[in-house]
Symmetry: C2
């Protein structure tokens, strides 16, 4: 960075004092100022990285207007800089070496889109130490190393922005960090994994098995070659970790969050759910209850008139309830090149303008004070103490006394049945396995798990009990 | 404000320079800083004002945490300070005189909740001139005097925050001003008036006439004693003016926006709309089309699977499409004491933190540069040039040649029919008035209006044609 542009900047930013003695930052959007660009580096030139490059290069004038100065894509770093992408970038900004970013003092913002834990973690730490602000879409990294990264950023007076890490283009972290700050949140219930929502939507439409739906998701580019992290709830739990930090001020290790994937859901569960007036969605939930906070990800029966029930295909959505604002609902594309890149570039603009610096300080995320700040923090409940309704699918012997035995097991453990479905068997003989669906009233999780075990030990129950949550 | 607290502030805010020569604002959340409160005044102690007082007084610790310092409700100004409200406030902060707010240099933020144009306009101008930042929920004021107010604020180095002016607790202005900035918006379609949405919902449920629904809305406190501004679209147009400014950078006079209220909708329109696969909503729309921007408020047939179609009762919602983010949908309570107060207090926190100052400068709302900034601005189209689909309800003579004549009128003017419904009359005689429903393909508005006039002049058509828009 030339000495000259430093001078230009000094003309742009400054402070003055008003009649109350308040310090005021002022920004002058003069042409001189616009000509002194902010240089940013992109780490990772995959799908999202290409999207970010597209937005920055194709909309440079508009972004300069929004950010108050030109934003220059000064470096793109990827181990593969040979494979052509569907945007052409100046050859000389491509590099395979991270050192040229870390060691370039002219670069002030690094956009981390490598994904995964390493080398992303080491790179981000070194970039923060060398004075760069970070914009990232890496939920796994934040869910695993949030505390370390934020502490390092604070130590070096830098910031981390991460709107793109949760629900792609939906500006949800922004809403939680700013406009909804007057609220104590009651709950966040969210569909945060587009792949599993697509698979569930296909299965619900009734013509697709789980295996086929997974294959379709892969063909459409929603699911990875190995979709394990999507369908087993890992991705959703990592995003929930971030939402819990922002919405409730709690720092949890994502591995400690109760998690059930969508593999346990069968085509017939959609049919029974519909009969009961519900849809099935993979819900990531953070719910305040009895002074504690319940955190879990699991396939959940959602009432058909809840807007979350109607979120189809690869969309993401969140229903947030605050003590003042009441219920607020957000829906949008949770993944994909441009929606995610939209969030990344929004964060770049916020970082250039200095909004990120203010929010970052004020929230003190993953900071020591958060837990006892009294702001919105809540003690995370142990799964045994969760309290909620459940759907149970039992394969039972269709014979006299079966119902008496099952209801006896539940009654002994204090589990109250809310509804029950058993359809006539297709063959008229009786005595063959039948499906029995039960929903419970609100039950302590520990008691329910005991009851499930007792049911599975009962001679009337033939297979493992399938259990889904029901949104109260 | 004592000299002492001025010193405390100087310790809190400041700037330093980093290795790139960038200026950085820093904020220290020390206990000393927290003990120097920001003093705010409330103008208007009605429903929303009482809500703001409740949040500020009942959640002082949490708000201090979010804002980085204590927020002190130092003055409440209302012409009626005798009637008891459902919150108790210190007697000595109540005043009937605005001068004690304007002349108190210790008050740095004034929250304007008086509503309407005067005296709100004069008060806000004087408050800005005397060095106070403004937070307001007054859409009418901004829609009529936005340019004057923002110019005055800029001149005096002050800010205006107004999240609560549009869609109550839904953090939509925040999203448009920050997180969605990377996008060129394609469209905003929104339900922004809870009263008319409640009335339409009741009529749609099929058991309520327009008059009964209005009465119910009044009993529930949704509608004013005189609900004219809600049902004739005035309120919606004023909010659309603000959305158009934020989303598309255009400054329009709300009186110039094409506006149709919900009075023209009849119970039978809901039945026909349903038959065609639609719901009817009062939609405020800003849509980019052929390089221009269409702005209008009107009862609109919305496809049943569009999330806007399912927004019931007093809820508000917005569907925004950006070039990168794709469709994003927001829903929440658009009015009411605490949802609106939630937005007001969010703005207070943003103003205290300095986020508002950054956003306010960057957006340059109602500023001279906006129109030719190239950012997102678009030329506002004249209504004659709008282009879209329509629903027409005709009362016709049920006699031979009627359909031939009507189709002839439309064909001559180049209007293409997309669908048509005429049900058998209940009496079997024929010759009695019948209802004919037509929907058109995309049509230039000027041509459609000519066609409607021609239809009304035709002897086959018995009454004024009812015309609703259809969402493409």
């Amino acid at each position: 960075m030339s000495k000259n542009s430093g001078v230009l900047k000094r003309q742009r930013f400054g402070y003055n004092t008003d009649s109350c003695g308040r310090y005021r930052r002022f920004i002058n959007f003069t042409k001189t100022a616009l000509s002194a660009p902010v240089k940013i580096a992109l780490l990772g030139f995959g799908t999202i990285g290409t999207g970010v490059a597209k937005i920055l290069l194709n909309n440079a004038a508009r972004i300069a207007q929004a950010a108050g100065r030109n934003v220059e894509l000064a470096r793109i770093c990827d181990k593969d800089i040979r494979t052509p992408r569907d945007i052409s970038v100046p050859e000389n900004i491509l590099t395979a070496g991270i050192e040229s970013v870390i060691n370039d003092p002219a670069i002030s913002i690094a956009v981390e889109l490598i994904g995964g834990l390493e080398p992303a973690r080491t790179f981000v730490l070194r970039l923060l130490e060398s004075g760069k602000d970070i914009v990232t879409a890496n939920k796994a990294l934040l869910a695993s190393h949030g505390a370390e990264l934020f502490e390092t950023a604070r130590k070096h007076g830098r910031t981390i922005a991460f709107e793109a890490a949760v629900c792609g283009g939906i500006p949800i972290l922004n809403a939680l960090s700013t406009a909804l700050q007057a609220n104590t949140l009651q709950s966040i219930n969210a569909i945060v994994n587009g792949t599993s929502n697509y698979i569930l939507s296909q299965m619900e439409s009734g013509q697709t098995s789980y295996q086929e739906a997974v294959k379709q998701a892969q063909q459409l580019g929603y699911a990875e070659a190995d979709p394990a992290m999507d369908v087993d709830g890992t991705d959703a739990v990592q995003k929930l970790t971030i939402l819990a930090q922002l919405g409730f001020g709690v720092a949890v290790n994502w591995k400690d969050i109760s998690r059930i994937g969508i593999e346990s859901v069968d085509a017939i569960d959609f049919r029974y759910a519909k009969e009961l007036g519900y849809r099935i969605k993979l819900i990531a939930a953070a719910v305040r209850s009895n002074g504690g906070l319940e955190l879990h990800v699991s396939p959940t029966l959602v009432k058909a008139d809840n807007p979350l029930a109607r979120v189809k295909d690869a969309f993401n959505a969140l229903r947030i309830v605050g003590d003042s604002v009441g219920p607020v609902f957000f829906q949008g594309l949770g993944a994909g090149q441009l929606p995610t890149a939209s969030a990344v570039v929004g964060d770049v603009i916020d970082t250039v303008l200095g909004r990120t610096a203010i929010t970052f300080k004020a929230l003190n995320l993953w900071g020591k004070e958060t837990a006892d700040s009294g702001r919105q923090s809540a003690a995370v409940k142990s799964p045994q103490e969760f309290f909620g309704k459940s759907y149970l699918r039992l394969n039972v012997k269709d014979q006299p006394g079966m119902m008496h035995e099952i209801s006896g097991v539940l009654s002994k453990l204090g589990i109250s049945i809310a509804s029950m479905i058993q359809h006539e068997p297709e063959t008229k003989n009786g005595g063959e396995p039948a499906v029995l669906i039960l929903t419970t009233h609100e039950t302590r999780e520990g008691d329910l798990l005991k009851a499930i075990q007792a049911l599975e030990n009962s001679p009337a129950v033939l297979e493992k009990v399938v259990r889904l949550r029901v949104q109260g």
